[in-house]
């Protein structure tokens, strides 16, 4: 019991430290050092890690998902279209984009979630490309010309109380986007953590390890798979919507196969066995590229070389360093 209380207090403390870092320390340090460019980088890391978290969740039910780019793109367009064509405020489009993606993923997931292994991986890879081609072909997306000059998020008020100010009036909209992104990231990972550590997590694991057996003990595997996939796509959609708002534009190529692959790699790098794997993976992979920008033409060489070394040293992801798992 005391042991448990101990670990609980350790947990609470580390969460508190983490929150203090992302919400207080980072802005203070950035202000002190004047490195305001880091806001965007960290915002990206936060958003991409939300999308990667979705991918991680599908890994958790035993599916390699290389299709998250499709939902990020979809989410971006849903938000952009609602804001630009229908005059919506940005804020309601955020959940709507997520829900739209979740709904779409249910329709798509029902047939394709029956696939396993590399087959599922490839179908989702194709899905990313299908999304891009659809964005090019559909009239509502403005095709190849993309959607540009999307207004910044306006004020959000509830009962006359302004909770979030109009981004356009802010002197530092980067900070605002950063806070928005990390808030969502914290929420997203809290949800993930809870999912994984509740019975649902065990159920997901049972899918990952043996679907036939899972169904023989009465688990509705089709339902659970679709739910997990929908949650995953929801994350993708939300991340995409915010990116559209930051760049104030969206194109069919805003999220491509490369992004889908990167989301997957983020999960691998962080570690498939750890809820916070995708967050760390994204930080290292995305931030790493940025940090290496001084190396000029050797950037890609060094970047990929480091990736290979990391893989050789920590094949089970970065987090396996902190929390080693046993391999028989």
């Amino acid at each position: 019991m005391t042991q448990r209380a101990m670990t609980l207090s350790v947990k609470i403390a580390s969460v508190a430290v983490f929150l203090a870092i992302v919400f207080i320390a980072v802005p203070v340090l950035i202000a002190a050092s004047g490195r305001t460019d880091l806001y965007y980088t960290l915002t990206s890391v936060a958003l991409l890690s939300i999308a990667s978290a979705g991918v991680w969740l599908t890994f958790y039910i035993g599916r390699i998902n290389i299709g998250q780019g499709a939902y990020a793109l979809m989410g971006g367009y849903v938000s952009a279209i609602l804001v630009v064509n229908h005059g919506w405020s940005f804020w309601p489009t955020l959940p709507v984009a997520g829900l739209f993606c979740a709904a779409a993923s249910v329709l798509i997931g029902l047939p394709i979630l029956r696939l396993r292994g590399v087959y599922f991986a490839m179908v989702t890879l194709t899905l990313t490309e299908v999304a891009r081609l659809l964005a090019l072909a559909l009239p509502i997306t403005n095709g190849a010309k993309g959607m540009v000059s999307i207004p910044l998020p306006g004020a959000l008020s509830v009962f006359g109380l302004t909770i979030i100010p109009d981004f356009a009036t802010l002197r530092n909209s980067r900070l605002a986007f950063y806070l928005l992104a990390v808030t969502l990231m914290v929420v997203c990972f809290a949800v993930m953590y809870r999912l994984v550590h509740s019975r649902i997590g065990k159920l997901c694991q049972s899918l990952q390890q043996n679907e036939e057996l899972a169904s023989s003990i009465g688990v509705n595997i089709a339902y659970l798979r679709v739910i997990a996939y929908a949650v995953s796509s929801f994350f993708g959609g939300v991340a995409g919507a915010i990116f559209a708002a930051i760049s104030q534009s969206i194109y069919p190529s805003s999220f491509t196969v490369t992004d889908s692959v990167n989301f997957m790699l983020n999960c691998f790098l962080g570690g498939l066995g750890y809820v916070f794997g995708p967050m760390l993976g994204t930080l290292v992979l995305y931030f790493g590229w940025d940090l290496l920008f001084q190396t000029g033409q050797f950037q890609l060489l060094i970047y990929s070389g480091l990736m290979i070394v990391l893989m050789l040293v920590l094949p089970n992801g970065l987090l396996s360093l902190a929390a080693p798992t046993r391999k028989n």
Binding site: R194, L195, S198, R199, I200, K202, L203, Q205, S206, Q209, N210, E212, L213, S215, S216, I217, G218, V219, N220, I221, A222, L224, I227, R326, N328
Partner: protein, 259 residues
Amino acid sequence: MVDLLEVSGLTKRFGGLVAVNNVSFSVREKEILSVIGPNGAGKSTLFKLISSFLRPTSGEVRLKGERISNLAPHIAARKGVVRTFQETTIFKNMSVRDNVIIAHHLRSRANLFGFFLGTVAAKADEAAFGQSADDILALLGLASLAGETARNLPHGHLRALGIAIGLATNPSILLLDEPFAGMNHDETMRMVSMVRRLRDLGLTILLVEHDMPAVMKISDRVVVLNFGQKIAEGTPPEIQANDKVIDAYLGSEDEAIGL
């Protein structure tokens, strides 16, 4: 006694092959019925049909008069028809105890959302399942292995774990596919008495097994399949004396090799 399960005219084709051919029989409540037959006779296929893992080409299965063929496996499980697998099938990377706990899924009263929120019902489930899992493991003599990762178990214990998983679902009829394979005599006999005890607790059991001493000892009745067809049905002594069965399956005794 009442017929709990009724199999009528069940047929399954794989391409040109008729794996199960017009098989009919019924299972009474609280009965232990064994299905035997040569390798490839269609026994496992029959089990898959009954537990809705496969859809029959024709024929049907009824549970207490209700048709249960053509359902999804998890629905059949919900109705109380649960099978174990011939291949040792477990959740490899979970602990033995977790394997059994998760198999309590059907007994949970909280729903997915409840699990997520950690409601009172979910917590109660959790505690109850843990207790029940420990009981089941103790019953099957796996208690000392509760914390071991399932993939590391030796063959024989894997089979026992498979049965533990089946039990945890609280079925009304349990289909055991070669549960004694890979167990020595002593272990087999312990399992036999365990299965009998389960029957006494109210469970109906369908069994596929090649271990004849065990089959003959445990079964109330035996159904024999050959090339997908039922060739005999009867009590153990009747089956042991049946020439067709001896010819197709049992072989005549051979002292030289102890069989």
